[in-house]
Amino acid sequence: MKDEPRNFTTKLAIIGSGIAGFAASIFAVNRHIATAQIGNTGAVAYTTGYLDLLGKMDAATDAVTDPWQALEELRKKQPNHPLSRVPVADIHRGFAEFTAFLGECGIAYSDPGDHNITALTPVGTLKKTLCVPATMAVGPRAFAARMVCVIVDFIGLKGFSGREVVANLRDRWPELSSQRIAFPDMPHGELYPEVMARALEVPATREKLAEALKGAAGPAKIIGLPAILGMHCPDHVRAEMERLTGLEIFEIPTMPPSVPGIRLRELFEQVLPKRGVTLIPQQKVTALTFDDNGATLCLSDSYGPIRVQAQAVILATGRFLSGGLEAHPQGIREHLLDLPVTQPADRDLWYRERYTDPRGHAIHRAGIEVDGAFRPLRRDGQPYNAGLFAAGIILAHQDWIRGRSGAGIAIATAFRAVAEAERFIIARA
């Protein structure tokens, strides 16, 4: 029995459920554009919670302290970089809108400031980022002021070692020490941050943990934990823990998939439908075609085939991890539309010899080309379609990993793509 496809029509279809896709949905919602978003939400769960705008310009320069200043230099040195093609005011507005939305929905973030924040990593190295979740904000402040602080880790939680954090920061933060405790009701076996975070949504667990934390803190007034402060209401869980202990508490991201990334994914999946976005989060678009009426997206779920008609489409399908790009021995392909992918001439040029070479690897700079309105280009240099736009790290001429600029590229280009898509939709009306 062949199922009848469920059809429905919208103005804007967003393909991809990473930071770029979700940022685009937020901007579309804020502009009252009827929107559908489709895509596998795997990649967001791998984010750490930090929102990086620009952490490193290139191998020759140090980590970026003033990203806005660095963006000016980037414009001159790398004019093709996606961040160079978005007005700085838009980047700032994009971050402000994105973090405001997250705050309204229960995950407060620091506002985008004038400078990067020097944030902590799970191994005790430091990282420059623009916005941190409120649950993590005390950490950088305590580090900067060298306050007495205890990192508390847990028996059975692998991959997060308080001793490791202390050992690697001790030259710069001698006031830092660590303690290990048991997590309430989980004295044996392996612990997982996700399970611990959900357990802390229960008041009784919080009370027990608070007692243990007070003991571990000793004379210190600030405690750092792996990111486990609740899943849905982290700010509430943190406030409660602080109330119960009388201490200041902050989180440090753990190895992915980490709780802060899962929080974002669950927030988007719950909130965006309530704000009117038609969200199909677990499926991939299998075909995308354009005609005079607009775009048709084909996909299916467990109930059968679905067909979405939209006037404008934003392609935010990411790179290899999320499947937006595919690396074959013969070359890199964009598989949904077979858009031309700017890439090294040969597979041998994808990666340098040394993995941690500070210059990074050419494979990451491969991607699709867009015009000034963020429309993907065909081989002849013309836009693929007037109603097709692209955003996020699928774009060429950037290395989001070494540049520490994943969220920046995602949010900035999503902001422009939505603005251009809106213009297109209005013009057609």
Binding site: G156, G159, S161, H188, M255, D346, Y351, Y355, T356, G360
Partner: protein, 536 residues
Amino acid sequence: MNPAPLLRKAAEPGATTLETEVLIIGGGVTGAGIMRDLALRGIHAILIDKRDLCAGASGGNHGLLHSGARYVSNDLHSARECRQENELLKRMAPQCIEQTGGLFVAVEGDEPQFAEQFPILCRQAGILCEELPVAEAKRIEPHLADKLIRAYRVPDATVDPFRLALENVDHSRAINGSLYRPHTEILDFQRAGGEIRAAICRDNRSNSLLTIRAGQYVNAGGAWAMNIARLAACTDVHLLYSKGTLLISHDRLTHHVINRLRPPGDGDILVPGGTVSVLGTTSIRTDDLENVRPTVAEIDVNIREGMAMVPALAGARYIRAFSRVRPLLQSTGNTDDRGAARGFVLLDHKDQGLNNFCTITGGKLTTFRLMAEKASDLVAARLGNHQPCATAEVPLPHGESCRWTEPGAAPKYWFKANNPDDMILCECEMVPQSAIDQIVQCAPGVEEEMTLEAIALRSRAGKGPCQGSFCGIRICSYLYDRGYYRDSTGLRHMRDFFNERFKGQRTVIWGQQAAQMELAEALHCGLLGLDSLENA
């Protein structure tokens, strides 16, 4: 017989002198085999390697325990040696061997005459060779190509060279305190009056000098043997170098070893190993011993040739590739490196004016025990020791801390031990915390500060599909927890570990591996900042 080495402070501060009966240079399977052979004769030895066990050809081969059939067409002598040692090792070191059996297969386009001659030549060498109907071959190995025209079964097997080396070294230590020192490099020999008086070495981690005085010196340096012999002013070692590149598939594609039934060429052999298969190999003349890396061209040629026998190789996921250098005994007028005899040679250097130095080189993994026997016979005789070789009679014991290299050992152990507090640190290969504890405490070559790379060598951590991207982080944080690392050294080891793993991955990153690498690099560089440790 003095079982333990003496540690003596020499005149200069910071220099150390060790004494032993025999110094063995080269921690491949041959060097390790010599160490044990001598120990069984009551002779104490120190084994040194400038890196770690199996850093040369011993650690970069198919892991094939040859039936000998591969050499019947061009080197009958080697073929017979392989047959004998194959049978012997299956009895002496079964814990290191999987008796998979092997097939030789010809496909459409391969020389029919070669296939005809094959069983006749095997018979001459005394190697069991049974013709299989093509349909039967495809039944027992469904991944074989449809255009198979001939198949023979032979008693090939697979062997774990890392475990072999570890067990040999471990047993030597147990017998008479013989000592293995990794990252110890020979710099020079002190010669006087027709003999070597001492070896001047350097510990490459601490940069300190070390003098080793022995009665006899054995050069088991494999591809480095010519360089080492020259340090002793011996000019009678003539080697050429041939680089070989192999790749490892994510899935084990066959049960048996699969060989191409044609004159030896590239991509001829597919060897199973635990849950993976190893495809290779190439043969490219090189002058460079130190910087051998797989090239994209070699990967492509291996896959192109291999897929004629096993078409699935064309679309398989590969987790890494590796290259090593084979020493070839130079013979005049022979331009085909594969034709060069893979027999071994033992040089006593008498005509170089030395009576206590010898070099053993050439050969293959399968005949390591025999090579060790010949070298040990010479060394023992020179020491006035008339104990016969015992390695053909005394089985290799199972070393407790050596078992972690066996595929499947860790999961079986963890499952049986049923200890919920023993956390799994490497999830691809199920390596638990306790294995790491055991390795850092008692594995052969254990030392004050073992690198993650050294731990990986002695276990399967990092050998699965993620190639250590995640477990490297977990093992490192575990080692900090244990107080093993107390400063940023751990981070540098972790970075070095990932860099080392990457050398193998670089040429086979596509498909799922590309996705895996993107995540790994985002984690290691983007989050942890391992690409900018110096500037931190």
